[in-house]
Amino acid sequence: MKKRNHLSWSLSIVLISVLTAIIFGCLELVHNNYALAVESYTFGVVPQFEQRKLYAVWKPVIDELERRTGLAFKLVTTLKIQDFEKEFLNGNFDFVYMNPYFMLVGSMSQKYIPLVRDKSPLRGILVVPKDSPIKNLSELNGKVVAFPSPNAIGASMLIRADLERMYHVTVKPLYVKTHSSVYLHVVKGLAAAGGGVEKTLGEQEQEIRDSLRILYTTREIPSHPVAAHPRVAKIDREKVRRALLDMGLIPEGRKLLSRIPIKEIMPARAGDYAAMSTWGLDDYWTPYWSEE
């Protein structure tokens, strides 16, 4: 009797040990698969600034995001906005920070899901040198006006549309890649005026800002969103959204975000950008393939 009890105890211990090993092994395997999954997220950023500046702005944000989410991201951008557009439309980015109008274009092809955006709206502006004699938009007729790129919603598409449709002014567009380039072109007199947005003008050095004068401001546009590709697990999407929103709650986070620039972060929805579809800007949209 006593022997039988001993045998039962021994078998129980062995069984428990084996089960414990199996459980821990499975947990380890799951963890490894998860880790493998988080390593592969790409985070695309529209080449809004010169590459180094862009990297300097976004690298701390991505690092903080990784720290907060436990996920790994690969910061990706392109030299040309057309290349970015191409990558975007091909769905090569897991997460992306892009032009508001891209949400319209993207929602049709890759159905990116907006996660967060700046609360303050985007306004397109047309700047001239501070000492420029030009007082009215009509005076720009026939003159060279610098724009970042054809598809920049606030700084290019909306301004060109307003100039042509509302003020019937025809300008010679000069696409200079970035907003900063636009402002410098205007300051240095390489263009009579330049299209930008309020936020990017505010990001310029004081000296440049002081050298420019806003001649025209467009309607409000929802700010640039951070969106996720639908293939990204929802839990990760939410982690990212939450992390970004949490960063906006603390000064250090807000400081990092302000350089994007996102002054006051808030959750974004697809509906926020739907109104733009009624503005008839398709004529001013230049698909990337049309430039190749």
Partner: protein, 731 residues
């Protein structure tokens, strides 16, 4: 110059030249080179920048241009400004044209202008203004530090070399130098520590071995040198002449004694043959024998009669030996020569003296015996005269006998005076006073054409002499002087004092060193030759005509002076004159004028006297005289008889008069026996010899009563009375 300076100085020069090269050439050159290279590099850099700018310009990416150029400018602190212009000259970077620094600051600015072309289209230009000053300063500073480091390393190297040389070379060399100096000063206790196995150590070890070897050599050398010095001193101070010649006979060395003897200085004779010393007196055969002997390796001994530099002749006794080298070949001759001139003179004097002594002994012996006979003759003649009245014919004959006997006695006295056997009565006599007293007598002695000069010393010249004898000497010398000046001249008599030491006594037959009175008699007469001079004191030697001289005058002088412990020398040159010098020992004057006592023959009081005399004539004469004057006499014929007679009559005999030399027993032996019987008996010794000779022969003791024969009866009676009246030493 010191060794480390010799080594370090070139290195220092090299350093200075290196520094000058580095500072004067290399630094400016390297700065220029650096500047050129920097410009090249910067040009290349700007080319790269331009390449970067081309797409940005073409793409109107002004912000990228700004970012890049601003970044570049921020990274290149030395860039004062970088400006980008469009093709139409519009400056698109920077926002505002920057203000260039002041002219002073712009001293080292470089301006680079780079056109920006693409596909032959000018896109603009890039102008860079660089302040090269800081870079230049940095380069300068870097190279200066490099140079200082290099020089510091070189300095450290020099210091190391210096210290290494000091430690490895200089210090040991200094020690060696110090050791050498101490070694040179003769200090061989120089510590020489081992200094490793390197070359210096080997040198020190070798030096140490050398020191020990030198020490050994020096010790040996010192010993040899001391030996040589001794030999040299011995030769230099040798009392004999030493001359060394080569094998041919030419002089190589002479010692000072040679110069002293010959008068030739050493330098004068070196290289000469010694034949210059020849006087011609040494026979030629003697030299041939000499050369034959020494050239065949034998030692030659002999005498030379050579001539000095001043012409004076001298005698040398020489030993000449050949000196052989290690191969046995005669290389030199050494002559050891002694000046024997004085010895020769002394030998001659001795010979003369011995000759005179022999003659004197002969004459004295004859005179003694003759005197005894004369004593009897005169004695008996006197006794006879007492008994014969004066004026008788017999008395006249007797007086003639006495006269002849007296003359004969006088002759014997002269002979005895020469042979120094006459009786003298020495007393303290002032020689000067004696001469003065004799001046008148001497003036009468010499002829009128002879001038007499007396030059007397102004000092006390008291001598212990018999004045009569000295008067006799003066008389004889002046007589001779007179006879030497037949045609007149000058006779000088002088006195002086001289103190003679042992050296002077070598040439003087005098009793000992001390003060002597000199009595000199000089004439300006005909003088004499050497042969005559050597014989003048011989008895009966005369140069006078037959009958004019006895030949005893100078012999007597010689005898008298010798008897007074003096000496006489003579110096004469033919035709110039002669000088006699008499040396007499000085005594301290008692300043007492003893009154002469007239001796009157005293008479006896019947005292009994034992007369011991082997000569019968003398004995009988004495007996007769004594008995005549009141004494009783007992005769003894020899010594034994005297002892017997005394013993038989000892209570009666008051005095023993005894001849010193007698058969059987001498006077002394007899007296010794007599005194055993009666110690206090009075004794009077008598002898034909003088008392000094008796004393010299050790016959009698000092202080005894003595009377010399012949003796006059009066003197005999006086002496007998003196002895009898003398208080007995015992009683």
């Amino acid at each position: 110059m010191r060794l480390r300076i010799k080594i370090v100085a070139p290195l220092l020069c090299f350093s200075v030249l290196l520094f000058a090269f580095l500072y004067g050439y290399w630094m400016p050159h390297i700065l220029d080179y650096t500047e050129v290279e920097h410009n090249k590099s910067l040009e290349m850099h700007l080319d790269s920048v331009v390449e970067l700018l081309i797409p940005l310009l073409l793409g109107h990416q002004l912000d990228a241009i700004y970012d890049n150029l601003t970044s570049l400018k921020r990274r290149n602190k030395d860039w004062i400004s970088i400006q980008l212009f469009t093709a139409d000259g519009k400056m698109i970077y920077p926002l505002h044209s920057s203000q260039l620094p002041a002219a002073g600051v712009m001293q080292h600015t470089h301006i680079f202008e780079k056109p920006i072309n693409y596909l032959d289209v000018n896109l603009g230009k890039l102008i860079l203004v660089e302040d090269y000053g800081p870079r230049l300063t940095a380069v300068w500073k870097r190279h200066r530090e490099l140079m200082i480091s290099l020089l510091t390393i070189i300095g450290a190297f020099f210091l190391t070399v210096w210290l290494t040389i000091e430690r490895i070379v200089s210090r040991p060399v200094k020690r060696l130098a110090s050791a050498s100096r101490r070694l040179a000063d003769g200090d061989f206790n120089v510590p020489l520590l081992k200094m490793g196995r390197d070359e210096i150590g080997t040198l020190v070890e070798s030096f140490s071995d050398m020191r020990d070897a030198i020490h050994g050599y020096q010790e040996e050398l010192i010993q040899k040198n001391e030996s040589l010095i001794k030999l040299s001193l011995a030769i230099e101070q040798s009392p004999v002449s030493i001359m060394i010649t080569d094998a041919a006979g030419d002089i190589e060395f002479t010692n000072p004694k040679f110069s002293e003897v010959t008068g030739y200085a050493g330098k004068e004779v070196i290289g000469k043959n010694p034949r210059f010393l020849k006087s011609g007196d040494t026979p030629r055969e003697a030299y041939k024998t000499l050369w034959a002997g020494i050239s065949s390796g034998n030692v030659w001994h002999g005498e030379f009669h050579n001539r000095k530099k001043n012409g004076e002749l001298f005698w040398e006794s020489a030993s000449i030996s050949p000196v052989r080298n290690t191969e046995g070949i005669i290389t030199h001759y050494i002559a050891v020569k002694e000046d024997i001139t004085e010895r020769k003179k002394l030998e001659e004097q001795l010979r003369q003296s011995q000759k005179l002594e022999a003659i004197g002994q002969l004459a004295g012996g004859i005179a003694h015996d003759f005197n005894n006979m004369l004593t009897a003759i005169i004695g008996y003649a006197h006794l006879l005269a007492m008994k014969i009245e004066k004026g008788s014919e017999t008395r006249l004959y007797l007086d003639q006998i006495l006269s002849s006997a007296e003359k004969s006695a006088n002759l014997t006295r002269q002979l005895l005076a020469f042979s120094r056997k006459q009786i003298i009565a020495p007393e303290e006599t002032d020689l000067n006073a004696l001469i003065k007293k004799m001046e008148k007598l001497l003036l009468r002695l010499i002829s009128e054409d002879i001038e007499l000069k007396t030059e007397l010393a102004y000092t006390d010249l008291t001598v212990m002499v018999d004045p009569g004898q000295i008067e006799q000497v003066l008389m004889n010398l002046c007589t001779n002087a007179r006879d030497a000046m037949p045609h007149g001249g000058m006779l000088a008599i002088g006195t002086d004092v001289v103190e003679l030491d042992e050296a002077c006594l070598k040439t003087q037959e005098l009793p000992g060193p001390g003060k002597y009175a000199i009595l000199s008699v000089t004439d300006t007469g005909m003088g004499m030759d050497e042969k005559t001079r050597q014989r003048i004191f011989e008895p009966f030697f005369t140069t006078k005509e037959m009958g004019k001289g006895t030949g005893l005058g100078l012999s007597i002088v010689y005898g008298i002076i010798k008897q007074h412990n003096g000496n006489i020398t003579v110096y004469s040159e033919p035709g110039k004159g002669t000088t006699f010098k008499i040396y007499l020992p000085l005594v301290k004057s008692r300043n007492e004028n003893e009154e002469a006592v007239e001796v009157v023959p005293p008479r006896g009081n019947a005292e009994t006297i034992l007369i011991a005399e082997d000569n019968e004539e003398v004995r009988v004469l004495t007996k007769n005289v004594l008995e005549e004057y009141g004494y009783r006499v007992i005769e003894a014929v020899d010594g034994e008889d005297a002892v017997t007679k005394f013993i038989d009559n000892k209570d009666m005999i008051r005095l023993v008069m005894i001849d010193v030399i007698m058969p059987k027993k001498s006077g002394k032996e007899a007296v010794n026996e007599i005194k055993k019987t009666k110690p206090d008996v009075k004794v009077l010794f008598a002898s034909g010899y003088t008392v000094d000779i008796i004393n010299k022969k050790g016959i009698l003791e000092e202080g005894i009563d003595f009377i010399s024969k012949p003796v006059t009866p009066r003197d005999l009676l006086v002496k007998i009375r003196q002895v009898l009246d003398k208080i007995s030493q015992t009683g």
